[in-house]
């Protein structure tokens, strides 16, 4: 993301102008834009003109519109962001108050204006504009019959393909059916792989599975590559890494990213960091349950006592449509920071973020044990 212009007064209200440059930036933008903000961008609008004789002309014009945001829609598969709202600046084609949906495009600048830019939003801009090259990662998590082809970027885990086939079991005298089924399954994965993986971007390919499936698949993949004379695949053989995972389901990605051999190779991918933080939380819950809290109310109470050492919070919470809700979480984050605590913002697209999301979206590791108060048992029920 490129930051072109930034104009804020001391109340933190103002606007920024940004140019998204890659898919990931769309995700950041999605997290930045909130209902009530104004967004200005160039767009194509179908305009109907009517002549004095009554004939109607429909034409498509490119124009720049400013809208007040009412709806935000993010498509993870195509990485497209659609923002709908009402026009607030009259121009020759579009009337005031007319509805329009802006489709934010790559390499086309937009200006976002907020009444109040909070710390989370500002941090997000900094993070998005960080020019450090991030390693894009492809992971194939598989077991016999199920495979997930995931693309992992610093703040997103995108399932590009989910392959599911039923493979006949081994059976007296019918072992060839098993082998045939297995090869059909492998071929499907290879097809998906060729369709979705671009080796210019991808730095590393993880193949993870329980048992020998990964080795078997790897052999099969390169045997096929030889057969098909697929140069790119053979040249990039060094990018493949085999890892053990306990199953072929998506959540096993967590184990893969926690594998020490992989973390060394990935350096500081955000995904791996998140996994570690969540693991720390669970370990704490096991060793000293009074030092591990989850749920907003509990965490807020801990924050009041300045007890939070690490706060794990999902970015999902900040996308809340309700301004007061968002404020509540922002305040929590700010107060933890003030008191010298560490805040880890989880991406809800990563597996660890998904799990945190299920766990009410916010969890904390405390500096000192705080015994749990009884009587506030009811609050958990309305969290989900």
């Amino acid at each position: 993301m490129k930051l072109l212009h930034r104009d804020m007064d001391k109340n933190n209200s103002g606007s920024v102008t940004l140019i998204p440059e890659e898919n990931e930036d769309m995700w950041h933008t999605y997290n930045l834009v909130a209902v009530g903000d104004t967004l200005r961008s160039t767009t194509i609008r179908k305009v109907q003109t009517e002549s004095s004789t009554g004939s109607v002309n429909v034409s498509r014009v490119r124009t720049t519109l400013t809208i007040q945001v009412e709806g935000i829609d993010f498509d993870t598969q195509a990485c497209v962001l659609r923002i709908s709202g009402r026009n607030i600046s009259e121009n020759q084609y579009v009337k005031m108050g007319a509805y329009h949906t802006l489709l934010l495009e790559m390499n086309r600048q937009f200006t976002l204006n907020k009444q109040e830019w909070d710390s989370i939003a500002l941090e997000r801009i900094d993070q998005a504009c960080d020019p450090a090259q991030h390693a894009d990662l492809v992971a194939i998590i598989m077991q016999e019959g199920i495979a997930h082809l995931c693309l992992i970027t610093p703040s997103m885990t995108l399932v590009r393909a989910k392959i599911e086939t039923s493979i006949p079991r081994k059976r007296k005298g019918l072992c060839d059916q098993h082998t045939k089924g297995l090869h059909r399954f492998y071929n499907q994965i290879i097809q998906a792989f060729q369709r979705h993986v671009n080796f210019d971007i991808v730095k590393c390919v993880l193949i993870a599975s329980p048992g020998f499936v990964k080795d078997h698949f790897m052999d099969y993949l390169f045997a096929e590559a030889q057969k098909m004379d697929d140069k790119t695949l053979i040249e990039n053989k060094s990018k493949f890494v085999l890892v053990h995972s306990s199953s072929g389901f998506k959540h096993s990605l967590k184990e893969v990213l926690a594998d020490p051999a992989i973390t060394a190779r990935l350096a500081d991918t955000k995904a791996a960091g998140e996994v570690k933080a969540l693991d720390d939380f669970y370990t704490m819950l096991q060793t000293d349950p009074d030092r591990a809290y989850y749920g907003v109310k509990h965490c807020e109470r801990a924050a009041e006592h300045q007890a939070i050492e690490t706060l794990l919070i999902s970015d999902e919470l900040f996308r809340s449509q309700d301004i007061t809700q968002r404020k509540r979480y922002v305040n929590l984050v700010d107060s933890v920071r003030e008191n010298g605590g560490e805040v880890r913002l989880f991406s809800s697209l990563h597996v660890s973020g998904e799990q945190l999301g299920q766990l009410s979206g916010v969890a904390a590791i405390l500096r000192f044990p705080m015994p749990e108060e009884d009587g506030d048992e009811d609050d958990d029920s309305d969290d989900d």
Binding site: G54, K170, G211, F212, S247, K254, E354, G357, S360, D384
Partner: protein, 778 residues
């Protein structure tokens, strides 16, 4: 407004017609029907159609209607077809004879009798023209007195008073049934006939008084063998019965002229079918001959009209009544089939490289399930790979990869017999990555053999933390295995040392009874060696072992001592599909263990969660076709009426009257094993149930329970720590068929795993059924 103006200024001709002028036209557009359609469906005089044949077919339908308003259409159709089918089965010579007879008969009788009737009568009289014409002429007279009771019976619909066509149709109908079955029974099963005549009371001429609705019921009870065709379908809803019976009545009424053997045959078929259905009313000493009758009838079933109509009626019958009616007989059949040998599903578990496959391979070899030639081949081939010690394991490890790696990867299934038991052997993999497969195998088993490697150091690694011995034992116990034999294997590597054996039995005995929860009497130990085959099926001969091991019980003797579990045969049918595969010649097969109830070829089953109907075509146990399979049997079935893509591993085949519940959310009671990280809400797990493993999330922690008493210790706990018990809500990614533990013990159990470890075992307490469900098959 602009829109309106647009319309006004529009040029209609251009807008509407310009496109259609030139394209999308064919010759047929100019005529009301195409020539080909006309040729097929319009009647023309030139074609010389026999009008009587039209009329006749209509009459038959009418008659069917009157006879049984409630009767299902398929049976009616099959009755109509009977004339054709009789004709179809004729050889060329007979066909020629028939045609010439037909021509002559037509000359004599004109159009007064329909062709179908003539054909039947001619065939009956073995192409004797004179006899046939005589019969036809007498028939035309005979039926008249019979119409009286018929009319009285049909309260709702009085048939048109006089037409000989109708009368003859009544008659035709009946010989049809007999004549169609005529050729086969006499030829192929005279012995059956003889046996049957003993049991049946012979065809009786039924008086018309037995015709009122009330009368029919009594009739059925008193004189069952005389109305043979209904007996197989005793089940159908009561409302259907009268109709059926009337048809049978007419059969017997008009049998004044039909040969006696004919109706007797029908009786034979009826009773034979009875037995096939497992609900025979007249089972007698002639059991075995009846069985053969079932088989020969079964082969013929497709052509035989009666069979077809019976089948269609049977399938329509709600299984509820059927299972009630036939329960007793099924039980009897069940007891009879296994005789003095009990069926036992036995799973072999243990740490990787404990020698499970070798032990069982050798056992199978000793029991003669594997012939010497194959064994020799395995020995040679394994020697080539430099793994001669794996020769016996190759009996069970069949895939190339398993053999080359020397590791069992998926459950192998075979069957062997001992003196007292028929054992279905499931050889589970020991490697920790294949525990999902091991769970699949164990969930289908009644008892287990836990194989222990007695070698110094090996037992310890297998038993201590990280080894699979503990996990397997715990899994087996949680999955409902009550009895366990511990085979202390590889005793030859420790010189059959008694101390070693005692050390192992002591340690394991404590663990199995205290921690795993096996009853002390249900755990037995056997020292053995899989490789040398010592103490498997023959008493030990090695002096080191004989010196201290007494009384010597071999592994097979121990297996014989196991008690088979009580199987839920009286429950509705359930089968969890563990494999779907196609086989040349038999369409597609599903395999699995019958969880409860029983299944027979011809049964309708309901596939959940795809919510589809299918018909069971064949049932195979161990590759031999069976007429019925009971709970506990490992079977293959061929299904018809459903596509292969709709049946996946994990689908549930069930009784259409009692479909399985499918849901994505359940409430369950779980027992947590020793885990590293506590379980919180939102914890992702893999849900293992029968042969499926699915990702799931623990949605909510409802309460923490006391492990022993089940009392609520704490409501809404924040987390669940190791060795505790709790009530939780689990959400599955896809909808699965689950049963309550209280309804089906075996089918209500599941395991939760995470990160390669088994974290909890659970039982289903409540299934939140989704009312509207949309199922996507990927």
């Amino acid at each position: 407004m602009s829109r309106h103006r647009m319309i006004r200024s529009m040029n209609y001709e251009d807008e509407y017609y310009d496109e259609e002028d030139e394209y999308s036209r064919s010759v047929e557009d100019n005529y009301c029907i195409s020539p080909s359609t006309a040729a097929q469906f319009t009647w023309t005089r030139e074609k010389n159609v026999n009008f009587a044949s039209y009329m006749n077919s209509e009459e038959v339908i009418d008659e069917g209607d009157e006879d049984a308003e409630e009767d299902d259409s398929s049976s009616r159709n099959s009755l109509n077809d009977s004339a054709n089918s009789a004709r179809l089965r004729l050889s060329d010579v007979d066909q020629a004879k028939l045609n010439s007879c037909l021509e002559e008969a037509r000359n004599i009788l004109g159009e007064s009798v329909s062709e179908a009737v003539m054909v039947d009568v001619i065939i009956q009289n073995q192409y004797n023209l004179e006899a046939a014409v005589n019969q036809l002429l007498t028939q035309q007279d005979v039926p008249k007195p019979q119409r009286e009771p018929r009319q009285r019976r049909n309260r709702t619909q009085a048939p048109p008073a006089s037409n000989s066509g109708f009368a003859s149709a009544t008659v035709t109908h009946l010989p049809d049934d007999n004549s169609t079955t005529f050729p086969c029974p006499t030829e192929c099963m005279p012995s059956t006939m003889a046996a049957l005549t003993v049991t049946t009371s012979g065809p009786t001429v039924v008086t018309p008084s037995a015709s009122s609705a009330k009368g029919t019921i009594g009739f059925q009870e008193e004189d069952v063998p005389a109305v043979p065709r209904q007996t197989p379908s005793t089940s159908p809803v009561a409302g259907r019965k009268p109709g059926l019976k009337m048809k049978a009545d007419t059969a017997s009424l008009s049998s004044t002229f039909t040969p006696k053997t004919g109706s007797k045959k029908a009786t034979g078929i009826g009773t034979a079918l009875d037995v096939g259905d497992g609900e025979g009313t007249s089972r007698s000493s002639a059991d075995s001959s009846l069985r053969s009758a079932v088989e020969s009838m079964g082969l013929e079933g497709d052509e035989c009209t009666i069979q077809a109509s019976v089948d269609s009626m049977k399938s329509l019958a709600t299984s509820k009544t059927r299972s009630k009616v036939s329960k007793l007989d099924v039980m009897a059949e069940y007891a009879k089939r296994h005789g003095d040998k009990d069926l036992l599903n036995l799973v072999v578990i243990g740490h990787v490289d404990a020698g499970k496959s070798t032990l069982m391979g050798h056992l199978l070899y000793q029991l003669g399930s594997v012939n010497k030639k194959t064994m020799h081949k395995y020995e040679q081939e394994s020697k080539k790979l430099g793994k001669s010690s794996f020769a016996f394991a190759w009996v069970l490890d069949e895939t190339e990869e398993e053999r080359s790696r020397g590791v069992t990867m998926d459950v192998a299934q075979t069957r062997f017999e001992t003196a007292k038991k028929i054992v279905t052997l499931l050889d589970a993999p020991g490697h920790k990555d294949f525990i999902p497969n091991m769970i699949t195998g164990t969930s289908q088993a009644d008892v287990a053999v836990l194989v222990i490697n007695a070698t110094r150091g090996e037992f310890e690694t297998g038993f201590d933390a990280g080894g699979q011995t503990r996990e397997h034992a715990l899994l087996a116990r949680s999955l409902g295995v009550g009895q366990i034999i511990v085979a202390v294997n590889k005793m030859d590597t420790v010189e059959w040392s008694q101390e070693r054996y005692q050390l192992i039995t002591k340690k394991l005995g404590q663990f199995l009874s205290r921690q795993a929860g096996f009853r002390e009497g249900d755990v037995t130990f056997v020292p053995c060696s899989g490789l040398s085959g010592e103490n498997l099926s023959k008493p030990p001969t090695v002096p080191e072992l004989v010196s201290w091991y007494s009384p010597a019980t071999t592994l097979v003797e121990q297996i014989d001592k196991l008690r088979p579990p009580v199987r839920p045969i009286d429950k509705p049918f359930r089968l969890n599909v563990s494999d779907v595969f196609s086989r040349v010649g038999s369409g597609f097969n599903v395999a699995g263990r019958v969880g409860s109830g029983f299944v027979q070829p011809g049964d309708k089953v309901f596939i959940m969660p795809a919510a589809m109907n299918a018909t069971v075509k064949n049932v195979y146990i161990d590759d031999s076709a069976e007429t019925v399979a009971f709970a506990g049997d490992h079977i293959n079935m061929t299904l018809s009426g459903v596509d292969m893509v709709n049946v996946n591993i994990g689908s549930c085949l069930c009784d259409p009257a009692f479909p399985a519940k499918s849901a994505t959310k359940i409430r369950a009671k779980i027992v947590i094993f020793s885990i590293d990280v506590p379980i919180t809400k939102g914890f992702p797990v893999v849900f293992h149930y029968q042969s499926i493993n699915e990702p799931a999330v623990i949605k909510r922690l409802l309460s923490q329970l006391n492990r022993n008493t089940g009392e609520v210790v704490k409501r809404k706990p924040r987390c669940l720590v190791k060795n505790s018990s709790a009530s939780v809500e689990i959400e599955l990614e896809r909808s699965l068929c689950l049963e309550l533990y209280t309804d089906f013990k075996d089918l209500g159990r599941f395991m939760l795993r995470s990160g390669g470890h088994t974290i909890a075992a659970g039982v289903v307490e409540e299934v939140f059924v989704v009312l509207t469900k949309i199922i996507f098959t990927a």
